[in-house]
Subunit: 736 residues, 2 copies
């Protein structure tokens, strides 16, 4: 009797009589893979591929992937093939059989449209037309009368995305037979913004330090660069801005461009383009000019040459992200010019190379007494239509600054002739750093689903930014990254879900946060429904929890100054009024909240009349935005009949209770995961609970000095004095 | 019956039987374990335990460890047991059988002396007397007529060290039968000094940032803390100073003590004590006193109370490391007091709790024109015998500052009544950061083996610091850590060997660097002799290489200013003269070198007459120290007949050639390791080569402006101008 066991690079061919051995083998493999996949914790993100144990699923997958034709002629296709083989080999515990050219034994084909036969091309014609440059098709098709699983796309990057999608489906143990997926990203630019400095500190970074080891670049390529690119490609992110928007001109010097080019070389086979931040005064700082006036000939020439140089280093360079005339950054206004002058000058330099300018709308002036929430709109909306075609304007989700909850930014819907990029913050600057579990897709979803009434009903923010509402030529989303050198990349294991979820929403802004949580939990932990359902609930609660224990009922920006760690509602001594929490809550003996109606700053007037009307009246204004738009007396009656002071207090208490609930859920699922990852989250939840109480106590004690009222029943009494909370200092809080 | 097993690249022919299944299992296990143990690269350090493939070795080990009695009553014993089981299970691919109480089936016993029967205790009486508190015995003994492998010790920490030793022996596939190891550390304090700041930057750190996540401490315990402790315990390190010698008083505040205590809790079960740096002015900065005068009553009282508080948080706190009146740090001299006043005041506060003071001798004054190399000796030697019993003085290995090569510090041997702690630098401040492969145990060995002639011949530096020469009551070694948040801990994979080697020398300062390299290579990579022999050669070359391409023939401190990255022999404009490279090389048209003989600074007089005599005469002075002690004309004839200028140039060239040789060796061993770790080192070696050439070119072009001579044949001509090299600026070089 003869048997051949081929393991490693060869196919596995086992005679039935050796089932015993096979089982033994499989179990052994599994045991070890599991043990190792958690060392060190979380490094593999959602890309671990534990072997599939369920025998029916497994045998279906084994059959369907039995013999694969994969035409891998280019670097991106090579990447896709490597990913496919890596995933299949691990999940099925065998070496995949992959061939360069098709044959009759193939059960699966992975190839670009151009590499398919005419018959398939014409059968799929309609599908190919729908998926554009980056989409893909995963479909059961008949070839020579035999059913084949086909992964195809117009371009190679579509193949890469299709492969990742297929692996995700398998990891989630979805049925592959009869599959018919035709999918394309709804946004063109799906970007990460790294606020990484050249000294490797990360502004508002809470997961260690910058991944970019500038000292050892370009010659040393850290394995993490590749793993970072893999993770991004797996969720469709196709652009990364390497450097902080508070920019350093030095990154545009040739020494650093060479380093950035080395990163671009790593990212390219994953379909990711590199972008840099451009410091507006760079012509002076590294160019030795004595002006950075965007209308100055030498300045224009300098940027043209600089851009030419950039493209010599990085032929597919994406473009510049610019923060100008904002929080001390230089810009065209320093020379009496406008944002349009500045953006268009740079855009002109980039235009011949296909590069773009992303100009940030996050501006507010220290000399302008206008409500900060209104200033970006006032500055930018008049310029609608004046920017060149390769300029996008990047707008934060809300009109202040990444608070736990803000109404959507009124610029969305107000600039039909300008492509607006949505800027979300993935790093938790105002949301408990990387110690608090907050599932941000809940926040993103709320913003994306918001009605702008820009062209009547159903004109959601999502439709503004995916260009479907105004037919802009380009569309995009930016996420301020939460990624750093921590072993698990994001500091908190659940902060990985925010990176993942951001990527998914940049691909499809209509996805529900629940779907995202479901996917992420299955890909990261387990398909066990009991775990998934419970933890999804924990994630769902988490966003309301943080709003409640930090800034309920529309309160905002109560964080301690500078580092934004912990509560500081009492801070009132900063040089710029709008940096003080007191500017935002305006608590006094008569009440609390920022009047943004016509009787106040009239910020509501920046919204469409349908929205403004709702916001203007405290009776119709959603209670979640109540104190964002209204200054109301402490005894103001809310919809549930309670008075404002009591409801504020009860909401703070509710936030704490919700964290307790999260802990209780996590304890319930202990048996589904191993000790280390369980304990890691457990420890962090305990920090979150401690800090939720700190927030509740400090804010209530402080507001109580104005309201003069007792805490309502059900609210725990603070165990420290207001003076104690005020005395806390954190000179080395990270990210500052 | 025949079967073919094709596994990876192997082809085995075996008969079907249970053996077959077993082997199949074993080999499969191995394949997978290997694949995973390299993800992500280098995290496991020398503590990976690949399964043992060699069947004879394996079966011996299986037999000897078949049934283990392990009495694990305390946390340290629990740690030891966990380590043993972890290692054995992985190396032997099975679950170990470990029992709490002995029985007749046991093949191995692990227990403290007190837990052994009277017979064994008396048989081993002599051994137990030799091993002290931290030593161990690993021995084949007869119990009831049966041979048993015994791991024993007087104290539990000895068991931990014994277990690690046993695992290392097994990993190196040493025979266990008839083993008779009686081993104890030769130094009491085996310390790491972390120059870690509270903002997580690391002074002179080139492996990322500080491991200590102060923000999340004390409630979040990073897995790395445990893995750090494991690694240290495995090489006998028993003390760690968490914070930078350029100290921040805040670490002594209760908020930070609570955090430090959490780390101490993690380290305790690994036999490691926590130490902190004490900023001398802390009574003013956090105590609100208006003086830090060590003779002031309030100051004395403040420190007493502070120490009491520290011990409340950390009951086994080790003590303080102090840098005082050095490079701007405050100290007793600010109040007209002496180092003795300062150290003894703190020592008095620590004494009731068993704590110690380690007072650094790294001092040199900006107002003192004396040769910097002489100042520490002048300041400290007169105080010999004046320090309290719980004070140690920590002295850098050479009289300047961690140069690629220095003669040993003349304080070693000159203070018989003071325990001197050797301070080595493991982080490569002056040795190419973490991009250059330099095997530092070669450097350490050279210093430890140096003859002081303090009590005649054979009075080596090792004998001074292990207290054997002068019978000091306490002994120690400190290593400035090269550890950071990089995935592989040390930035360069081979820098792990420096951490490892430092630990081994702190345990036994008489170990040869070759033994250490051998051990480390086997534990980290493979036992394959072809690999080990070749790479050992590469490591051995590396230290001479860096001396040659940076500072040959006794030259020193030519590094560019501040960051110490790359050459800067021309720097001469710093405020303190002894911070300028020109201070050290004194090149002029007549020659080069620092005259430290009687005609110059007379630093040689600080050495014993036997040594001074040798150093004083350029004819007898070892050429490796020539320009350290002598200013010599460019045409001075060296022993080989060449003139000084030519020999300087040829040495620089030799350094470059040696790096080429290292690369060539590494290429030869490519087949012995997998691609990723191979390429990682390969990329770094290419950086090293590039930078070695930069050093050679820049230094030779600069010195040529004085010598006015041509480069001798065999020296490559620089490809850039001196102006080019001078123009290079590195504002974000790490560790500064």
């Amino acid at each position: 009797m003869n048997s051949n066991f081929h393991i490693g690079l060869l196919c596995l061919n086992i005679n039935i009589s050796f089932t015993q051995i096979k089982l033994f083998y499989i179990i052994t493999f599994l045991t070890i893979f599991h043990a190792n996949s958690q060392t060190p914790g979380g490094y593999e993100l959602w890309l671990g591929y534990p072997e599939i144990e369920e025998s029916t699923v497994r045998s279906e997958y084994v059959k369907i992937t039995n013999s694969i034709f994969f035409n891998n002629k280019t670097p991106i296709l090579q990447t896709a093939k490597n990913e496919l083989v890596r995933g299949l080999d691990a999940m099925l515990g065998r070496a995949s059989d992959v061939q360069d050219s098709p044959n009759l034994l193939n059960t699966m084909w992975v190839a670009k449209k151009a590499d398919l036969n005419q018959e398939l091309q014409s059968v799929l014609k309609g599908d190919f037309e729908r998926i554009g440059k980056e989409g893909f098709i995963i479909k059961s098709v008949l070839v020579n009368g035999k059913s084949i699983l086909l992964v195809t796309a117009n371009e190679e990057v579509g193949i890469l995305y299709g492969v990742f999608k297929l692996l995700q489906l398998m990891k989630m143990q979805k049925e592959l037979a009869g599959l018919n997926i035709i999918e394309a990203p709804k946004l063109e630019l799906r970007m990460l913004n790294h606020w990484d400095n050249l000294d490797r500190t990360v502004e508002r970074g809470y997961a260690g330090f910058s991944l970019w080891n500038w000292q050892k670049l370009p010659n040393y390529i850290d394995q993490r660069y590749t793993d970072y690119a893999r993770a991004n490609a797996s969720i469709g992110i196709n652009a990364t801005v390497l450097t902080n928007v508070n920019a350093n001109a030095l990154v545009l010097s040739s020494a650093y461009l060479e380093k950035a080019a080395a990163l671009a070389d790593v990212f390219r086979p994953y379909g990711i383009k590199v972008y840099l931040t451009a410091r507006f005064s760079a012509p002076m700082e590294i160019g030795k000019l004595n002006t950075a006036d965007p209308l100055d000939k030498d300045v224009i020439e300098w940027w043209k040459n600089k851009v030419k140089e950039v493209y010599k280093f990085i032929p597919d360079f994406g473009g510049f992200l610019v923060k100008a005339n904002s929080e001390g950054q230089p810009g065209p206004q320093n020379y009496g010019r406008t944002h349009v002058d500045g953006a268009n000058m740079l855009a002109t330099a980039l235009q011949p190379f296909g590069g773009i300018i992303i100009w940030r709308a996050f501006v507010y002036s220290e000399t302008d007494a206008t409500d900060r929430a209104k200033q970006a709109f006032i500055e930018f909306v008049p310029y609608d239509g004046n920017f060149l075609d390769n300029v996008l304007v990047q707008v934060k989700n809300g009109p202040i600054d990444f608070q736990p909850r803000e109404p959507f930014h009124p610029m969305f819907g107000a600039m039909p002739n300008t492509p607006l990029v949505m800027e979300f913050q993935i790093t938790q600057e105002y949301l408990g750093f990387s110690s608090h579990l907050v599932f941000l897709p809940k926040l993103y979803e709320e913003v994306l689903d918001a009605e702008t009434y820009s062209k009547g009903k159903n004109a959601t923010v999502a439709k503004v930014i995916d260009a479907s509402l105004f037919n802009n030529k380009i569309s995009g989303m930016a996420g301020v990254a939460n990624i750093g050198t921590d072993l698990n990349w994001t500091g908190h294991p659940f902060a990985q879900a925010n990176w993942y979820g951001y990527g998914r929403l940049a691909w499809d802004p209509y996805l529900s946060s629940e779907t995202i949580a479901d996917e992420w939990l299955r890909l990261t932990y387990t398909n066990d429904l009991k775990f998934v359902v419970a933890v999804k609930e924990m994630m769902t609660i988490s966003r309301e929890a943080v709003v409640n224990y930090m800034t309920p009922l529309g309160l905002h920006h109560l964080m301690d100054t500078g580092h934004h760690y912990g509560p500081g509602p009492w801070v009132s001594d900063l040089s710029r009024p709008e940096w003080n929490p007191t500017y935002y809550h305006k608590a006094d003996k008569d009440g609390i909240g920022f009047d943004r109606t016509a009787s106040g700053s009239n910020a509501t007037s920046q919204y469409a009349p349908e929205i403004a009307k709702v916001f203007n009246d405290p009776e119709t204004c959603p209670e979640k935005y109540l104190l964002w738009f209204h200054h109301l007396p402490w005894d103001y009656k809310l919809n549930n009949g309670g008075i404002l002071w009591d409801e504020i207090a009860l909401n703070y208490q509710k936030g704490v209770d919700q964290v307790e609930e999260m802990i209780s859920i996590w304890k319930q699922v202990k048996t589904y995961i191993s000790d280390d990852p369980y304990n890691e989250v457990r420890m962090l939840l305990e920090i979150q609970l401690k800090e939720a109480k700190w927030w509740r106590n400090a804010c209530l004690l402080y507001f109580q000095t104005f309201s003069g009222r007792e805490l309502p029943p059900g609210v725990e009494l603070p165990d420290e004095s207001l003076e104690y909370y005020k005395s806390l200092k954190f000179p080395y809080a990270p990210g500052n």
